[in-house]
Assembly symmetry: C5
Homo-oligomer: 351 residues x 5
Amino acid sequence: MPRHKTSLAKKIGLPPGTLLHTGLSRETVPELTVISYDAEQVAERKISPGELSTFRERTGITWLHVKGTYHVPTIEVIGEAFGLHPLVLEDILTPGQRPKLEDYGEYSFFVLMSHTMVDGCLVSEQVSIVLGGDYVLSFQDEHSDLFKPVVERLLNAKGRMRKFGPDYLAYSLIDMVVDHFFGVLEHMGEFIETIEQEVVANPQPSVLHNIHELKTQMLFLRKAVWPLRELIGALERGQLPLFRESTLLYVRDVYDHTAQVIETLEMYREMVSGLLDVYLSSLSNKMNEVIKMLTILSTLFMPLTFVVGLYGMNFKYMPELEWEWGYPVVLSVLGVMTCLMLWFFRRRRWI
Amino acid sequence: MPRHKTSLAKKIGLPPGTLLHTGLSRETVPELTVISYDAEQVAERKISPGELSTFRERTGITWLHVKGTYHVPTIEVIGEAFGLHPLVLEDILTPGQRPKLEDYGEYSFFVLMSHTMVDGCLVSEQVSIVLGGDYVLSFQDEHSDLFKPVVERLLNAKGRMRKFGPDYLAYSLIDMVVDHFFGVLEHMGEFIETIEQEVVANPQPSVLHNIHELKTQMLFLRKAVWPLRELIGALERGQLPLFRESTLLYVRDVYDHTAQVIETLEMYREMVSGLLDVYLSSLSNKMNEVIKMLTILSTLFMPLTFVVGLYGMNFKYMPELEWEWGYPVVLSVLGVMTCLMLWFFRRRRWI
Amino acid sequence: MPRHKTSLAKKIGLPPGTLLHTGLSRETVPELTVISYDAEQVAERKISPGELSTFRERTGITWLHVKGTYHVPTIEVIGEAFGLHPLVLEDILTPGQRPKLEDYGEYSFFVLMSHTMVDGCLVSEQVSIVLGGDYVLSFQDEHSDLFKPVVERLLNAKGRMRKFGPDYLAYSLIDMVVDHFFGVLEHMGEFIETIEQEVVANPQPSVLHNIHELKTQMLFLRKAVWPLRELIGALERGQLPLFRESTLLYVRDVYDHTAQVIETLEMYREMVSGLLDVYLSSLSNKMNEVIKMLTILSTLFMPLTFVVGLYGMNFKYMPELEWEWGYPVVLSVLGVMTCLMLWFFRRRRWI
Amino acid sequence: MPRHKTSLAKKIGLPPGTLLHTGLSRETVPELTVISYDAEQVAERKISPGELSTFRERTGITWLHVKGTYHVPTIEVIGEAFGLHPLVLEDILTPGQRPKLEDYGEYSFFVLMSHTMVDGCLVSEQVSIVLGGDYVLSFQDEHSDLFKPVVERLLNAKGRMRKFGPDYLAYSLIDMVVDHFFGVLEHMGEFIETIEQEVVANPQPSVLHNIHELKTQMLFLRKAVWPLRELIGALERGQLPLFRESTLLYVRDVYDHTAQVIETLEMYREMVSGLLDVYLSSLSNKMNEVIKMLTILSTLFMPLTFVVGLYGMNFKYMPELEWEWGYPVVLSVLGVMTCLMLWFFRRRRWI
Amino acid sequence: MPRHKTSLAKKIGLPPGTLLHTGLSRETVPELTVISYDAEQVAERKISPGELSTFRERTGITWLHVKGTYHVPTIEVIGEAFGLHPLVLEDILTPGQRPKLEDYGEYSFFVLMSHTMVDGCLVSEQVSIVLGGDYVLSFQDEHSDLFKPVVERLLNAKGRMRKFGPDYLAYSLIDMVVDHFFGVLEHMGEFIETIEQEVVANPQPSVLHNIHELKTQMLFLRKAVWPLRELIGALERGQLPLFRESTLLYVRDVYDHTAQVIETLEMYREMVSGLLDVYLSSLSNKMNEVIKMLTILSTLFMPLTFVVGLYGMNFKYMPELEWEWGYPVVLSVLGVMTCLMLWFFRRRRWI
């Protein structure tokens, strides 16, 4: 669970800016896609790290998207080609970063935490974005299709996107990440509803486990969204000169979305902790029911058993035993006792 | 429950500003009402979207009220007629928006969340308001009569409303939404009182369900009111040039009302969580009572049963069995034991 | 309980500033008292609403105190005589307002919530104060003697009060309201102590009810005091030009008092919730005791009952039954078993 | 417990600035000590209130320390001699004030709440300090030796204290009060440790009482320290012109100490509430143990008792009773049943 | 546990700035290491306090690292050699200081709290750093190798460190302290996972103890990290002129790390308190199971025992006893009763 913690701890004592991928190292080469576009044309191409240097001469806007950040040499080459600060490269290579926004003058650097729902599991992935004057670099840990809709919109002739600058592209990527949170929240909302019905209908110990799971997921989500809102809030206040006025209008919109994600999350948290209360008191209720039943039974049978035990004694001189009507009388007495007790329980609303 | 979440998730990957009604789509055409007024006269008319363009030439103040925001073409026509930004139209069409206030220079855009009590159910509805220099546009999701009192006041000759500008009309609509919260709070207050009496008199497991329901409702309400206060606070600080000084006095009043709604809500929440405590400890108390009864019974009958079992043994040489007074003596012993134990319980205040 | 909520809900849809008393309407005419004073002289007089207009011509300071705000015509007459804004009159007539301070230029308007302890009940009452250049208007809902000490100090020759302006009088009224909170707190402190002793000595289910009651009272108090502090804080920061520098020194003092009320209240809340914990765990303790007793008893008598049942069997060939010492041996075995078990319980510190 | 609350309630309706000792009035005359010093010399003298007027002519720094603030005439004389505002005198005479700092231009006025541990009891005492241009007045409620170390350092030739101005003396007194909090915290820390060991080793109901006691003490402490930090924070930001730059360095140090007191206190509070959780769940555990034992016993003996009861029936035709091996067979069956059940419990890890 | 509290309490009444080591005094001489370096060369040397004065004349940057702060004379000598304020020396000698940053003009003073995991125990140690124009002094309580990686990087030719000024060295030391927190967090994360599995698989009372331990550790950690973030935040905002612009970029990085430590810590705290909930309700569940079993057993055997007791009565006239099929009939009745009850339990989903 705290995998990304491990990664940072592994680096203790290394000078800051040392390049070393702290995640799970893998052998496969990362996938580099370049999309060059301006208002008139657009071209998408998969390239190898060696071709990077030639790209900087082109006009228009260049978007370089890197899938898989575990390959240190590739990241180093990109860093050199675009003149990135060692701290930026370090942050790209270290998964489990806190979402942040850093302004390096010529370019700005974003770290985001994307969360998506894959087969009912919450999958988190670090996304780093570098926004320069005429380029955008984006890095994601895994090979997932996080930004596919943005790519399609770019390639699609109808989109307005190509008329805007690289800041609008950066905004679109951030917007994409925020949009994915709604998918996760929707999934959670449905899960909460399921738990709710289960708790009301037939509370099982497994409910507890589900609630605990959900709570942990929410904690992870919260840890990703709060700094994200901070980050977008800073953007909205115009702290990045690279973001044009016209784009800020859209940023304000994303800001509202993150606020909504946070508020929904907080609401869900309270709902879940309310469900726990309901579950716990339904446990108490059940125990009450069971104990009540035990008490009713004992109250019914203990006196009866005493009476039959009484006439099971072997004393020589027990006049009742000799009576002809002794047995029926005792049976009637037992019946009356039972009725009295049932009436007593009924009055107490126990049965 | 998290219906409006679904709607946003549905849009993942679409370019911002794409018009698509994300709520439940319906076929019926929305209802458009136009009220044109100035200090001297007032006219109300139901129109079709086609007639919209002609309306802009008129003098005086125009209020266009749209019931049902699910019909995308209508909203598009309105957006064109009044020159609204695509993001505004998108927000109008997307239910479940976070209440917000956006200044677009020539016009201001409000999104509110109205909550009303309909047949004991909490019904929420998004209300969007566009305030221009001489017009007000208002949009509501459903066909409810949310703003009926405002309409009546406008048509009614006695109201001061017609002497004020469109900002006062916008204020009146916001005030209306806030006023409805008081109705909801009143209903909740009564419900809390009912639960309180039930918890004290005869705590039933259903109490738990009611408390949970109430809590969830409060969470939804809270999610709507907090951003609303923020919004009205921004209004009050004069951030909208379209609001005149004289209207701000009234806005200050609404601000106090939202503050009061929030404080009452927070108070109710604490009261409800107090009720849960009372309910849980009354459960504990009840269990204590039941177990005490079980213990008293066992304490009474177990020794008695042992004694009668003792003289039920079939040993050949049991002198007591032969005694003439054996049986009465044992009966007396049992009686004395019972009295002693009853005295013991009395001293412990168990009975 | 949420009586004043009702009142606001009743007004839904009326134009703001509509005069309509939203509390319980009553027929009796409110009581108007006028005290005119300057440094040399003082005069107190009960007047009828008709005489109001003549009062404005006098020199010196005029204090008009109105007991009973339910009579709309009287309030209207006063509003006209002193030129008050419709919103001010509306607030005076609507009980359950949030404490607030509004500056209308020529005069300032305060709404306070007074809480007093009457026969062990918490009674709340809205107090409205209008402070003008040379007059003070005060309104209270009921006919209680809230401001009697202030009146006496004014009439009393020794007081310094008559040398100060109307702002000092307004301050004195606010101070009076804050002082009453201390009486309420003192009463609560004693009540908490009583509950504390009860919880420790002999926890009864009624404790729970008392704690719940106390908590609800505190919630109401808190709702009144927090905005009050805000209000006095604004005063202290000199936001009202009508308050002279010399009076601000006294306002600072009241501010500290409200801060103290709030801190004491918060402390009481934590103490009360601590008491609830103590009560709940003493319940658990008691149940533990009872169940332990049940277990001890069952452990003692179940084996004994089994043994005597064993020798109650009717098998033809049971050698023990024939033995001459069978009965005494079984009795001794039972005695030894009992002793062993008692020793076992003692070692476990159960008895 | 809420003694000082009583005192403020007693004053309801008196004009502010009325001198009346609201604590427990006593007959003994308070003890006045004057220490006059400059860099070269120092003199300590006990004086009577009558001699006060002559003191103001002297050069150097004068420290007047008053033990016992219950004697109104003495305080009045001091107030006159040093020209103090009536509100200052009122605050000195009223115990239970909220710690505060007030600047009266020529002099500054501090109210502090000192807490010390006396024989395991938390004793609180109000300390008032007036800092003038060349004098310091200090007042304490009781006759304790709160400031003895400061006196000794002044009289002691080695201290640097005499070279500094009266602001350094005032700082030393405040520092003294803060230092005493550490003694209290140390005591609490040890007490928490004791409770911790008790909870783990042998949880007794008395633990609950101790925890409750501790919590209440912490609440009182917190109520004293938070405003104290505020006060010292204001000092540190240089809001008092009477404090020289060189002294502010020391004030920054005290500020850190109060911050540390608060953080330790908050940590202790969480630890104590953690202990309560541990105690409550150990109660639950114990009950589980007891109930498990009861269940094991019942499970063992109920079937056995049934079997022996079965063969205690008096039917004429019960073939088993006639069998020669009937009794041993039943005994073996009982033995096998017991073993089976023990095996079952073992498998469930109950024994 | 509250060891450092003791130390501060021990100083009550001493003048501030008095040098006295308040920790555990030991006899051994502290270890002083000096590393002098500039861009070209580096030299490390262990020195004695007597050689200190000669060091100040050298060019380049001097780093004096002191291990063991308990030796007052050494600290006094260092203080004199570098002209440190008495308050600085006092803070260095007093363990348990709150992390803080103080600017003395010519030099800046940092107090940090380092936490490391040694053999599964959380070990805390105070680290004091003095940053001058061309020197850095660092002090640590114990002889641990806290800063070994920094030393190695300095001595190592490849590091960029020697090209930067002393501010970069101070940054590196702070970064080191923050990095160690990640190690602690990683350890905690693993421990939480272990507890989680234990709680789910087989909840034992020892879980409770572990959770309590973990919570206490987190409280200590939190107390150290929050002021640390504050401190680094102040650094980042450029409050220290000794920190160059180029270094601030790195400080921003450390700031993000502390923020991440805090957020992870808060997340862990919620996870742990969630685990406690899970544990407590699994206790409840277990008790429910046990009581259910007891109830099932009693329900099964109490009626059976009553029936066999009934036919154990010794009445002379009990017709059933005489019947030839009496015994088998009773046996069948008992069997039918058992089946009915089992069916009943099955229907209630108890078995």
